[in-house]
Symmetry: D2
Subunit: 337 residues, 4 copies
């Protein structure tokens, strides 16, 4: 059984841990956290062995009543592979530690592509990660775009993507993040860094992105314009996307008017944490005029990269090929709405 260590047990890390634990071919050998707050409590309750990010915090964990099996260094040593889900920038700091320990590692979207052998999206470039030692699962927004571009590129060819990314200000538990009553061009410069990030997956794609930040916590929203190389009907595109396992085409009859009702649907379906691993594309919004496709999609920032991390583990370790891995991940998590 492949032993997977989770270094950084926050929004992303705790979900990766649960997803790994749900797989038949791997298990969580431990999770590492920086402080003994309610997240630590949650880890223990789920039965994960707890490690302290830093040596000098071990006593704080013990004082708070948590047993810790060691530090992140220890976790790295004991793992066959590590998923690093520490805050942006810490992954880069951790990179030499993985190297020193000879442990392959997956970094997350905020880290630089230059630190890894390849950036990764299961649907788009699983093969590039096969056998790689260091892989970066691209950010929630880039994952969302990649899943959409992949089938469109294959079916029709993509001339150009123009995207406005309306991003949530913070996750539901991130008290300190704003804005409260504002719309921010973020970054102000156009095109934003998101386009080049997509190019780490599709090097030749012509894509321009504009970023905004708004005072919400539930999901990002993408307003998309995609010039295709051929002229499918809106209906054909809708069917193509509905055929993708990690895209949920929202049916008109559901009367879902935004991200609040989408997350409510996930709660109704009994999804763990109310997660929506799939891109949520409003069927009604899909519109092809001449060869230009328009659509809205909502992206659950907390969870869409989770299945990608699981698949990246399989790609790197050779546990399975793309289709088999995606199918196993989908099946075990219950992906598909």
């Amino acid at each position: 059984m492949l032993q997977v260590g989770i270094n950084g047990y926050g929004t992303i890390g705790k979900r990766v841990a649960d997803a790994v634990a749900a797989q038949p071919d791997m298990e969580v050998c431990g999770v590492s956290k920086a402080s003994p707050d309610f997240g630590a409590d949650g880890a223990v309750r789920r039965g994960y062995t707890l490690y302290s990010a830093r040596e000098d915090r071990v006593s704080a964990f013990r004082k708070a009543g948590y047993e810790v099996a060691g530090t992140s260094e220890d976790l790295i040593a004991e793992s066959d592979i590590v998923v690093d889900a520490t805050p942006g920038g810490i992954g880069a700091e951790n990179r030499p530690r993985y190297e020193a320990a000879g442990t392959p590692a997956i970094l997350q979207g905020k880290e630089s592509d230059s630190l890894v052998d390849t950036s990764f999206n299961a649907r788009a470039n699983f093969e590039d990660a096969e056998g790689a030692e260091y892989v970066r699962v691209v950010s929630c927004n880039t994952t969302g775009i990649s899943r959409l571009v992949s089938p469109l590129e294959e079916a029709y060819g993509v001339e150009k993507v123009r995207a406005t990314l309306v991003r949530r200000g913070g996750d539901p538990d991130q008290t300190g993040r704003g804005p409260i009553n504002d719309i921010l061009p973020d970054p102000i410069t156009v095109p934003s860094h998101h386009g080049p990030d997509v190019n780490t997956i599709f090097p030749d794609l012509s894509i321009d992105t504009m970023g905004l930040t708004v005072p919400t916590t539930l999901m990002h929203m993408h307003s998309l314009n995609i010039e295709l190389e051929s002229e499918p009907s809106s209906e054909e595109v809708r069917e193509l996307l509905a055929g993708e396992s990690r895209i949920f085409v929202v049916d008109d009859g559901l009367a879902i008017d935004g991200t609040g009702k989408l997350r409510e649907l996930a709660r109704d379906r009994g999804r763990p944490r109310g997660d929506l691993w799939e891109n949520c594309v409003w069927g009604e919004s899909i519109n092809v005029q001449d060869s230009e496709l328009y659509l809205f999609q909502a992206i659950h920032q907390e969870s869409d990269v989770i299945p990608e991390n699981v698949d990246a583990i399989r790609a790197m370790t050779g546990l399975a090929g793309r289709d088999e891995s995606m199918a196993m991940t989908n099946e075990s998590l219950g992906i598909g709405l």
Copy 2:
């Protein structure tokens, strides 16, 4: 097996349905909805028999692909007891229908106390509902206050309650509700109607309440001042409350700074829909000075009344007494954090 009909399958109704389904001594004989949106889809997926609120909507349900077993009238006829979770005011309209069918019914907090034999909170006045035909489970806020006052009254006597209720503007899926960037005295007049509502449970309690509405969706927050008849220490009160099955005393070490992290804790614990059936009282906030107790508690408006509805069913039908019923409900739902 007691057949429970759920008339009105929205925020409250769908949770009551799931809670009833989880009990060993009752089952959901059907749920009724006004329109065939994603809520209907959820009901069907959970295996509940669907009824249309109105005859003239049956075709709309059928057109949307849903089988309906009849109208609310039919559901009422087939149920041993009905939980009415329709929007405020509709319960009053439905009241004669229950009478005509001879079906006992539970109304929710927005309906008038004058429509029922008794208002209800399991901890405070279970006995009053025993054998009653019409019972009203008090509102989320009144439920939250009742659970707190009950043990305090028993242990120390309560001289007076002064409460500021800072209420969420809407539930997460209520797109149309505001405010967006405002704090509203709601109502402007003081004391608010909430105090008299608490008096439907504790007729002799001296209580003054002030209501505010703010732009959030997660939970209400109560800022409480309670004059006691004796002078327990803060620590004693903390232990008393920690001993209540439907009160969760938030431990300081968890580092939970507000409603966002509370709901995150619920998600971490794998709670269905991330629900928090318990009053959440910050342990650190509990402070007794002379005989005045201060504390903050957060109330999950979508879910705290759910166990109360289940217990009301048992009280009315005689399935069990207070302690047995509360224990069964707690056990089956997993109440207690």
Copy 3:
């Protein structure tokens, strides 16, 4: 002196009244309101003669201590021209009244273009309104787009406009509007109705728009992609826009990161009500790649249409031609940042 009646004294009406009062060639002969709230108080303090929208409300105004000079019918009769700033849909109802009284009238953006001789934006089609009896000042969003397209069309030719309109949920005093924590595709269908609305000003323009609504109150934000017929440099476009009197190109050095700081700038400049009559285009965001121009602009929904209403009055009544009117309006209000 031209006598201007303001029918509907709310967000738009009160600003139009103040703007008219600031002109040398026209004056406010009265304002009409539906209810005697703090808006009525404001009207009286500014010295405007008050009229009651409906006969049966006159007594309510009197009871509240306000003198009313009559009803909207009376105001219409006494005005040389009326600016109708009633809520969307009421303008259509009022249309026959203006006709009956022989009083020319200006309707606002929510009313249908089919009710008027022409839709109007001063910069783009002042001439079309010259001598017209019924004119519609287009909505805040359409006004914002028209001001931008006009100079671009003249200087470079416009091939196609693609716009994502991220709209504020409500004005600061609209307590009842949401959403609270949501991003809504609004409408879900793409392209939205905004494009055709722009076509009432530029009939031949190719434009696709996508609408979203977010929980803010300060300004709308437009994320724009404009294909030009020639290839100016980013710097040239920036200079072109900076030369427009009703466009404010936000300088990088000001360190303005969103709509909050923009409105703060307006407050710092002593603007009445903190209004921003100008489109606010972030200079740093202006980017031309090949012949595609990208930029972000913020639109103050409460005030950008105000100078347009004043200019429409002059166009309809022949008080002045386009350049003279716009100059007078700009000068008297202090437009230009």
Copy 4:
């Protein structure tokens, strides 16, 4: 003419500068800022001489096109008195500089009472600041409570104050502040530090405060319970408060339901920056039961301390006594709604 230096030209500093400039007996000799953003632009446009907070930033100001007359040290040397409106904590760092220069100074609410001769509220303890060298104008919340307690104490005697302070998360231009969708007990411990702060003005007052933070930007809201030593009627209290120059009793007929409409009223009245220097007490909320007074008041955090700073200057320098000073400040600013 008294030369007043403003050290720290942000939310509070820019308003103090404008207020000082509006007085007949003092003038602004300069304002100091840390960085050359749009605030610097505003200072220059209003004709204030600009100083750089730090020597090593002078060149940044010059590069951005601003003339600076020197550093904060220079400003302190040239001022007869300085109003320090730097961010919390910097005032304490600046304190020795004022001492070294022999320049009296006013600090703001976030600084410690121990740094000054007295804390200050014009209505409550003007006399304590007469002739003092270092004075602290208490925070926006404490100012709001002091203005209310003062007349109540004089007229009826105050037994005890219990206050829940529902605070705005950030000012409108503070992009980085949250929360977005949360209600935070802040601090979690009860009573909060606000009570002791009020005791710097009323040493013997019995007061307990509870603090909350919510996602709004416009005003704080106080939910108050005040035990009086006698039993006035609600009407008497209303008249008492209406007689206070810095309290605005909101009339029921105005139909003002919250902070959004209050600020709209200020905009309607032509207030600079839409400021509300007065406590805003809802008349309808004033309720005395036995000897307990309840009421809601809204406090405009950006502006209520401004007149207090002006009065503190006069108290310290002997320019005028309490009544004369308050009258001059009120008259020059236009206080009183």
